[in-house]
Symmetry: C2
Subunit: 753 residues, 2 copies
């Protein structure tokens, strides 16, 4: 890895043609509305993955590979690659600059996380001399539709410089079958001062929305003159040319803007885009850049985490926060947090249980209660889809989807779609999280109750009664550990199901008669639900009292992950699936996930016993896994393990730990580093008021972070001597701090042992 | 269903626009080299599935839907729709005849199974009068590349008749994603007396073969004159026109021929096709028809089955034999028997375990030992692929593929590809079947030993030792009953694995030292194999002694399929997959499959006990299931059940029992009706010499069939009075007939009770 450790930047020195995809992932930028991978502006004929993605724009892939099963979703929802906005063909004396062919020196690419600007400089070595290129760009945080580029070329010899900025909608998805495309090209247009193109997703037979996208560009050039403009199907291009003297810099500013039919009427799109492009050019690059950097500054103000004495850890948490803030802003209630954000196609911009299980508490703390509520409302808005999904399985109630853009399930592997029903529990739990964090029960008794009712009904119908043991069982599931499929009585699933049913039952006790009648909830139904929740079966090892991941887990050949040869890891890249399924190795926290999520219901002894049993078998090949282990380890007192897991979660992508960051970043799991600092090292708990029990991890000189809590902004600073709490905003607050009940007026200090 | 019951024909009266696909499947024709669905020659804008398929021509679909797992095949092998050979646009006074738009009367379509000719007649009702059309065609059994059509138009009013025969390679697969195609159009050509086109499967990145296909047509017309010819990319067309008087018949004869790079050099293909088309036209339709019908007559001679007193049963068995003979002839060792033959795309022309488990004994009896040996050699030829498949799973030995064209697995559902390892056992068993049937051990000790060695090594590596029970187990499999996935210790899988290992061990005792050395088989390896075979674990219910389908089968909610509401069947079309998996219902014989395949090792009591337990839970939603139950039922003495199951297997497609015949015919399962008559009603066994213990099923007046056996041709006739055996060809034979050891000199008669 050629990436430098730096507290605020991701810096690559030198070009490694074999690792371009990885660098592209790591220098991705976005603004919640759209985003793109850190591709080159100019041509690159080497191995690259050019990707531009727009929030909420997707397509139903109807490919049916394998044998279709009844009840399968009708299509596989796909994040689709959209119009390439950043492209500029560069020619020197008629020869293209292409770093796969053209030798270069002093190649540097950096992402400045403080300002959200990507800067790339290099010197191309040509037969007649050298040409230095400086390319700077940003996806604007101040104007969501805008990508702005400043592209400067300085030859050290007299030559003809040709720059051809273009927009190109002839793009493919990475996994497309024989270059199939998902876009119809509708229109290319040329205005006095801008060029635009309009595309629309292909007709589909599923009644899912089609998206029209218009993109326009307008350019300004210093030292170059416009020679010609060209339009082809799905492509517009302008040609600028200059006869440059030696050491003369010629600069092109390109403003590319992208609008979609999600926000604008389709027939107005092209006009809107062309006008906006012309306006952006009038504003100019420098002013647009100022507005953008100011917006990033404001965003960082509320959520920066400082770590002293460990630059790698510092870079890790900032990288994660930067990408999280680039992916989701809470401004558009129709959007959610895609596991790869705008950085790749796999999992793409679809919504997963990741949102509730990992992201929700983070956004609640760093972006505030209103943003968190948007995430809750997203699921409420999609409740019809969840009812539909349950119906497709022949079951009552609501089953939230494993993967979705609309609420309707759009993933098509039975072991996931049909079996990973624990996802419902995470959505119920987010409501609990919100209510306990904010102290506000109004959501619980309004929209929240609708959601909980659907979830409780689903689980109640999904169990079956086992007369011999006089309890309820759940057969045929896949738990959070996806390295087992189709198991019976997954402890986590049974536990979160029973908890969700009971949480609904509890809420019903507080709800009005009228509210319950509207939901058609009867006393009889509630009594049955209560019975199911109370008599749920939990597999437990008789000898040790360990909670069993599933009924027959102990029949497996149990061994430690540490005994796996290094060259067989990650096992999902070296072992065939059947071997993984038969093994004891755990992809991600499962029983431990339950002991984390419902941590207030279990004592330390139980957590320790199960941690000691499961942690050695856990290979953490899900990026969502290490943070849960880190937080539990911190609570149990395994501080080394907690730090080991923190490093893994904080630098998963920067260090390419799972060897798959070239596909895109692990956005949702980036929340893990914040969770580890707050809930692990700082011991933050919010179930019963606010608790903070911080410690300073070994090797750090100190850390600090601030968070929103019940209308307040609170800052915690921890160093070798003490933990200091500061009320930055809002009314005094009673809380548990370092083991004592205290009131935070403006400051509290606790000396650390 | 508008299909008439007829001993030799499939006749449809009247056109049901909603059931066109079903009729197309049922009137499919082929000749082992190519085949096509029973489409209309003229345009049809209604719901139709136009399909032409060529043996051994396929394509790797690289679509990756869902989450790819390590070890998955790189592609999904697809039978691809090839050039449409039969098309003729028909216009009367410039208006197209299109039975989705044009009203018609007296519509009849019939497939004559004795001659392999499809005839269609109807009268189109046009504004100015009526036009009667008679369309006859055949896929020649005498010249494998030839489709010949005689198309006659008789208006009852004066009009202009235009006929435009064409070839069209712009075809899609039924399941293609947004109309993607798998063919590159290379060339269209016009010769003096023929037109041709050349296509080639698209470039693929997997190194799998690309297939070039040339098709040419030449036409002869009575009463029509050639007006023009037209070529477009992937399409050639000729236009014939006549001003016809009232009641004048105008006739077009179209000869379309199709050649592939599997047989001819690519650069010669077009020339070969054009010449062959011209020659076919010179020969003329009548002569080509004579040659074709003569070939069918000869083919029927060796294998017809007669049933007296039950025309439905008679039609069923003939339909099955006709389609089997249309699909596989044994002439081309590179081909095998696709589950849908040339009649559809699902399962397509790929090779499955169906071949060995169901087809092999039938072809051995009706087509002879040499044809059967071709099927064995096919697997021997693909042994490298099987070793590759095992390596992909990280295991030793050879794993034959679930789905293949080359020996390499090309299906991509883990529960099938990785888990349905019982398929290896069927391939070992076919060798056993061949050896015992023919009495010839030479194959066993030559190529057979290579195959058995790979299979035995695979199974031996796939087990794990369970120290507490001191036995070997097989976890994580899918048995023949695909309505359970990822189960532990499937009785059938464990049993056939142990049997296969032991069969190899036994064969090694007969093999030379040199032979074993060549296979690197050591005494130590053999001892370990013997230990695995001897100490294999078999789940058995302690109370009843029933063999358990898998370890936890008895934990399920057990109920009878008879108690399922009719409107929920077949459950695979009404229940979601997870519900099916959790239920007790069995798709196809599993434990019973083992008791059938290894019937010589189990007593009647065991068979009866297990049959009584499993049969009520079996929904037979695999077309491969009823024949196994029929044969066991006949042996046990459940004659009504045997007949019920016979009807289901013999008329599965004719009566569209599984409600999916519109996709194509269930070719491989068609062997079930022959097996039921021979092994069920006639009690034929061949493990230890030849045994026949026939009875006359209730409702039948008699039945007769003949079969090849050790160089002889034997005919069995059964009626209400007696069973008669006749030696048609070959030397006298000692056998067990009706419970007695006898010698068949020329005839044997046994009076039935």
């Amino acid at each position: 890895m050629a990436f430098e450790v730096h507290p605020w930047k991701v810096i690559e020195h030198g070009l490694d043609p074999k690792a371009v995809r990885l660098s592209e992932s790591l220098t991705s930028t976005g603004n919640g509305y759209m985003g793109m991978r850190g591709n080159f502006e100019e041509d690159f004929s080497g191995d690259t993955h050019i990707g531009t993605y727009i929030g909420g724009v997707w397509f139903p892939d109807k490919t049916r590979v394998g044998w279709w099963k009844n009840g399968y979703p009708q299509y596989f929802g796909k994040t689709i690659n959209a119009v390439r906005l950043m492209g500029i063909h560069v020619e020197i004396d008629g020869e293209p600059v292409d770093l796969a062919q053209t030798p270069c020196e002093n190649f540097t690419r950096e992402l400045d996380m403080q300002t959200g600007i990507v800067l790339r400089t290099f010197t191309a070595i040509l037969p007649k001399g050298k040409v230095t290129i400086r390319a700077e760009r940003f996806v604007s945080l101040a104007q969501k539709e805008l990508l702005a580029i400043s592209y400067a070329v300085t030859p050290d010899f007299a030559c003809t410089v040709t720059l051809k900025p273009y927009l190109d909608a002839n793009v493919h998805n990475l996994d497309s079958n024989y270059q199939e495309t998902f876009w119809d090209m509708l229109q290319e247009e040329e205005a006095e001062d801008a060029m635009g193109l309009l595309t629309k997703t292909k007709e589909n037979p599923f009644g899912t929305p089609r998206f029209a996208v218009a993109a326009a560009m307008s350019c300004w050039a210093d030292g170059l003159s416009l020679c010609s403009r060209r339009m082809e199907e799905g492509m517009v291009e302008a040609t600028y040319r200059a006869d440059a003297d030696a050491h003369e810099t010629v600069t092109l500013e390109k403003f590319a803007l992208c609008f979609t039919s999600r926000d604008e009427a389709e027939e107005m799109l092209m006009t809107v885009a062309l006008k906006a492009a012309a306006r952006a050019r009038e504003t100019g690059y420098a002013d647009a850049r100022d507005a953008h950097t100011a917006a990033w500054k404001a965003r960082w103000k509320g959520c920066d985490v400082e770590i002293h004495g460990d630059d790698r850890a510092q870079q890790g948490i900032r990288f994660n926060l930067f990408q999280l803030l680039s992916t989701y802003s809470g401004e558009d209630a129709r959007l959610n947090i895609g596991p790869k954000g705008f950085t790749g196609e796999k999992y793409g911009g679809a919504t997963y249980w990741d949102t509730e299980a990992y992201c929700f508490p983070v956004y609640m703390a760093i972006a505030g209660q209103d943003v968190a509520k948007q995430l809750l409302l997203y699921r409420h808005m999609q409740l019809d889809g969840a009812y539909h999904n349950a119906r497709m399985q022949g079951l009552r109630g609501a089953l939230y989807p494993m993967v979705t853009f609309t609420g309707v399930e759009c993933h098509n592997e039975w072991e996931i779609t049909f079996e990973e029903i624990h996802r419902n529990g995470a959505i119920a739990h987010a409501i609990f999280d919100y209510v306990t964090y904010t102290g506000d029960e109004s959501y619980l008794l309004s929209e929240g109750l609708d959601v909980l009712c659907g979830i409780a009904r689903f689980y109640t119908d999904r169990v079956h009664y086992q007369p011999k043991k006089q309890c309820y069982m759940i057969h045929g599931v896949t738990g959070p550990n996806e390295y087992e499929n189709n198991v019976n009585n997954n402890w986590y699933t049974n536990r979160i199901a029973a908890w969700s049913i009971r949480y609904f039952w509890d809420a019903c006790q507080k709800a009005s008669e009228e509210r319950l009648q509207k939901l058609h909830v009867t006393a009889e139904e509630l009594a049955h639900m209560r019975d199911v929740a109370d008599r749920m079966y939990y597999p437990v090892d008789a000898e040790t009292g360990i909670y069993l991941q599933q009924d027959t887990f102990m029949d497996k050949q149990l061994m430690d992950a540490a005994d796996l040869p290094e060259d067989q890891r990650p096992i999902n890249q070296h072992w065939s699936w059947d071997r993984i399924l038969r093994s004891c190795f755990i992809k991600q926290a499962d029983v431990l996930q339950g002991l984390y999520s419902l941590g207030h219901l279990y004592d330390l002894e139980t957590k320790k016993k199960n941690f000691d049993f499961y942690e050695p078998m856990t290979v953490h090949e899900s990026s969502l896994s290490p943070c849960v282990h880190a937080i539990l380890a911190a609570e149990i007192g395994y501080r080394d393990k907690a730090m080991e897991m923190y490093r893994r979660t904080a630098r998963l992508d920067l260090d390419n730990i799972n060897n798959d960051t070239d596909d895109g970043l692990h956005i949702t799991s980036m929340t893990g580093s914040w969770l580890t600092i707050a809930q692990g090292f700082a011991g933050m708990r919010t179930v019963d008021g606010l608790t903070l029990n911080p410690y300073l991890p070994e090797g750090w000189q100190g850390y600090a972070f601030q968070f929103h809590y019940r209308g307040r902004l609170i800052r915690l600073e921890v160093d070798g001597q003490s933990a200091n709490l500061q009320l930055l905003l809002g009314e005094p607050l009673g809380l548990h701090f370092c083991g004592e009940d205290q009131t935070l007026q403006s400051k509290l200090t606790h000396t650390l042992a």
